[in-house]
C-alpha cells in the first residue's frame, strides 16, 4: 500500500490510476523510509518507471538502472551494434550497482532494487566529493561498489586489496534517467576527483583484434570484462571474460542448490561461445575444460562434505562501517528481504572504522543437501 501523499505524487508524475492500483495489488510498488526520508520503490516496471526506480517525497525521481545488453560473440556483436561507429571501451567492474543522489540535502546511495542502502549511504562520502552535488544537484552518479569487503558479494576485483571502492561508470539526470555523454562524464569525474572505471579508449570494429587482446589481458588479470558505449551513450553492450564466467561458476557452486540452473547454464554457454569464436584448441582448451569442471565440482563437493558433518551452507561477508548501528541496519534490511544472517564478529579497527563479519546462511540448500546425503530416495 502507498499512502495518499505518494498516490497523488505518482499520479502527478504521470502514472495512470489504473496502473497504480494494479501495481499496489501485486506488491509491485512499496513505500519505505530512510532516516526520515520517505520514498516508494518500484519492484516492477510501470510506464516510464523502470524496475528499481525510487520516487522520493520531494518529487525526486531516480529511475531504475537499465540492464545492459550482453553479447557473446564479440566480433559479430560489435559489428551488429556499433556498425562502423566508434565506441568507448570501459572496464566492467565486478561489484554491485549503486545510484548516488542528493535528496533533501542528503547524499543517498540506492541499490539496483531501489532501496536506500544504509551501508553504502554511510560509506559513499569516503569515495565521492559532496561538492559535485552542490554544483549538479540534478545529476545521479551511477557506479559499481566493489572490493573484498562488500555486503552483497563475496569477492571483488583483484586490484581492490581491502575494503571497497566506488567506480563511476555513468551519470544520469534525475527524472529522465538520461545519461550524459561519456566524455562529459570523464571530465566531471576528473574535475571532482570521483574514481571511475578504467577507460581503455575509443575503438571501432576495425580494431577488433586489439579489443580481443584487451579481453584476453583482462581475463588473465582476473577482471570481469568490458562495457562498450557510443560517446553519446545511446548504444551500450557488455562482454565478459572467460575468467569471470568460470569464477562466477566457482562462487555459485558453493550455493549450488540455491541458484537456478540458468545461472550456471548461461555462463557455460558464454564460455563455449568464447572458445568457439577464438578457435581455442589443444592445451588451452583442456585448461578451460579443467577449470570449468573444478569450478563446478570443488565448492559443491565441499558444501556436501560440510553439511554431512552437520554444518550449514553459508557465505561469509566482511564490511567496514563507521557506526556499528549501520551494520545492524544492514542486517535488518537483509532480514526483511527474507535472508538469514548471523553476525559473527565486530572488531574496532582503531581508525574510526569497525569491521563487521557476518554470515549468510542458506537453509533451503542446506536442507536439500542434508536430505540427499541422508539417503532420500526421490523421483526426478
Amino acid at each position: 500500500m502507498v499512502s495518499s501523499g505518494f498516490r497523488n505524487l505518482l499520479l502527478k508524475l504521470g502514472l495512470p490510476e489504473g496502473r497504480l492500483e494494479v501495481l499496489e495489488g501485486k506488491g509491485g510498488i512499496e513505500e519505505d523510509t530512510f532516516e526520515g526520508i520517505r520514498y516508494v520503490r518500484f519492484r516492477d516496471s510501470a510506464r516510464g518507471f523502470r524496475r528499481g526506480t525510487a520516487v522520493f517525497e520531494d518529487g525526486t525521481v531516480v529511475l531504475g538502472f537499465p540492464h545492459i545488453k550482453r553479447i557473446v560473440q564479440l566480433k559479430n556483436g560489435v559489428k551488429r551494434i556499433f556498425k562502423g561507429k566508434p565506441f568507448y571501451v570501459e572496464e566492467k567492474v565486478d561489484g554491485y550497482n549503486v545510484r548516488v543522489v542528493k535528496v533533501k540535502g542528503r547524499i543517498l546511495a540506492l541499490t539496483r532494487g531501489g532501496f536506500v542502502c544504509p551501508f553504502t549511504t554511510e560509506r559513499i562520502l569516503d569515495f565521492i566529493n559532496e561538492e559535485f552535488f552542490r554544483d549538479y544537484p540534478n545529476l545521479v552518479l551511477v557506479g559499481e561498489m566493489a572490493g573484498p569487503e562488500s555486503p552483497y558479494l563475496v569477492e571483488g576485483p583483484p586490484y581492490v586489496k581491502e575494503d571497497i571502492q566506488f567506480f563511476l561508470f555513468d551519470i544520469q539526470e534525475k527524472g529522465t534517467g538520461r545519461s550524459i555523454p561519456a566524455e562529459e562524464r570523464y571530465k566531471l569525474a576528473e574535475e571532482y576527483g570521483i574514481p571511475q572505471v578504467e577507460v581503455f579508449g575509443l575503438y571501432d570494429r576495425s580494431r577488433i583484434d586489439e579489443l580481443r587482446e584487451l579481453v584476453d589481458k583482462l581475463s588473465e588479470e582476473k577482471r570481469e570484462g568490458v562495457v562498450m558505449k557510443t560517446p553519446d551513450m545511446k548504444r551500450i553492450a557488455k562482454y565478459v571474460t572467460p575468467y569471470a564466467n568460470i569464477n562466477d561458476i566457482r562462487i555459485g557452486s558453493r550455493i549450488f542448490f540455491d541458484l537456478p540452473g540458468g545461472y550456471f547454464m548461461g555462463r557455460i554457454s558464454r564460455l563455449a561461445f568464447h572458445i568457439a569464436e577464438r578457435r581455442i584448441r589443444g592445451e588451452d582448451f583442456e585448461n578451460y575444460a579443467k577449470a570449468l569442471g573444478e569450478a563446478l565440482l570443488k565448492p559443491l563437493v565441499e558444501s556436501i562434505e560440510e553439511v554431512s558433518q552437520g554444518h550449514d551452507v553459508e557465505e561469509t561477508f566482511r564490511v567496514r562501517v563507521k557506526n556499528v548501528s549501520t551494520a545492524h541496519r544492514m542486517v535488518n534490511h537483509f532480514e526483511r528481504l527474507g535472508l538469514k544472517i548471523h553476525i559473527e564478529d565486530i572488531e574496532d579497527l582503531g581508525n574510526g572504522y569497525w569491521r563487521i563479519t557476518f554470515k549468510r546462511l542458506y537453509p533451503d540448500a542446506t536442507r536439500e543437501i542434508r536430505e540427499l546425503w541422508n539417503g532420500l530416495a526421490f523421483v526426478d
Copy 2:
C-alpha cells in the same frame, strides 16, 4: 476426445465421469490406433491409471511404468530404503523402457508414454519368445531396449556392439500393474529364453563395500548403474555411476540449448555426491573435473562451430527394420510428436533387414545459437 465405446469402457474400469471429462478437456487422454487395434493412452495420471497407461478396446489395461526412485548417497540410501533386508542388485541398462503385451492376438510394444511403437513392435519378436504369452497372456514383459541402433537414443551400452537388444527387468500383471517376485521373473526368463538385465546377486547393507566396488567396476566398464529391488519387488531404488552422469552430460551438451538446465544440474550434483561419499581426492578428483568440463564444453563448442558454418544442430540415429514402411511409420510418429526428422539413407543389409539412417533436427537450438553467433545483444 474419446469415442463413446472407450468412454463406457473407462467408466466401467472405475474412472469417475467427472475425472474423465477433466482429462479430456486438458488433453490428458488420447485415442489412437495401431494396425486396426484401438487404444487410449493416459498422458496424465488419473486415479489408478498412471501416466503412460494404455487401455485397449478389448479392455486390456497396461499400467504406466512407475518412475523408480533415485538415491545419490549409496550407503545411506540403502540403509534408509532397505533397512536390514536383502535386495537384488540388477544392472540399470541405458536404453528406452518398453512394455510388451499381447492384445487381440498380437504382441505389442509400448513406450513409456503409452504409445504402441511401430519400430519396437516390429522388432520385439527378434528378442522374445512368443510362447511366453501363450502360457501367460495376463503378464506384461517390461524391459529396456538398448544398443547403438535405437530410434530414441544416440548411444547404447558398450556391450551391445550393433543393432539393439531387449533386456527384461520386470514382469507385471495386466490391469493391476503388480510386479511378480524377482526370483519368479528370473525363472521365467530362463525358461523362455528371454534376455534379461545382468543380476549381480542378493546384497544387504552389511555388504555396502562390495556394492560400492560393483558400482566402480560398472563405471569403469562404461555402464549406467544399478537398480536395487527387494525380492518381492516392493522396494526399488536406482543409483547411477559417475561414468553415466558425465556421459549423459556429454550427449546432452550437443543439444545444450534444447535441454532444461535441470538436465545438467541434476547430473553434476549426482557426480558431486558420489565424489563426496567416496572421498575422492587428488588425481582421481582432477580426472573427474576434467572429464566433466570436457563433457560440458566440447560438444557445445562443436555445435556452435557447426551452426556458425551454416549447419543445423542435429543428432543422427540408425535403426534396423524388416520393412521400410516401419521406418516411415516411426518418422510419422515422431512428426506427430512435433519433432523434425529427416531420413538420410535406406540401405538393404541383404539379411532381411534394412538399415535406416535418420537425423533429428533441433531448429530452436539452431536458431538460438545462430542468433547469438550473429552478435545478438540480449538482456539476461
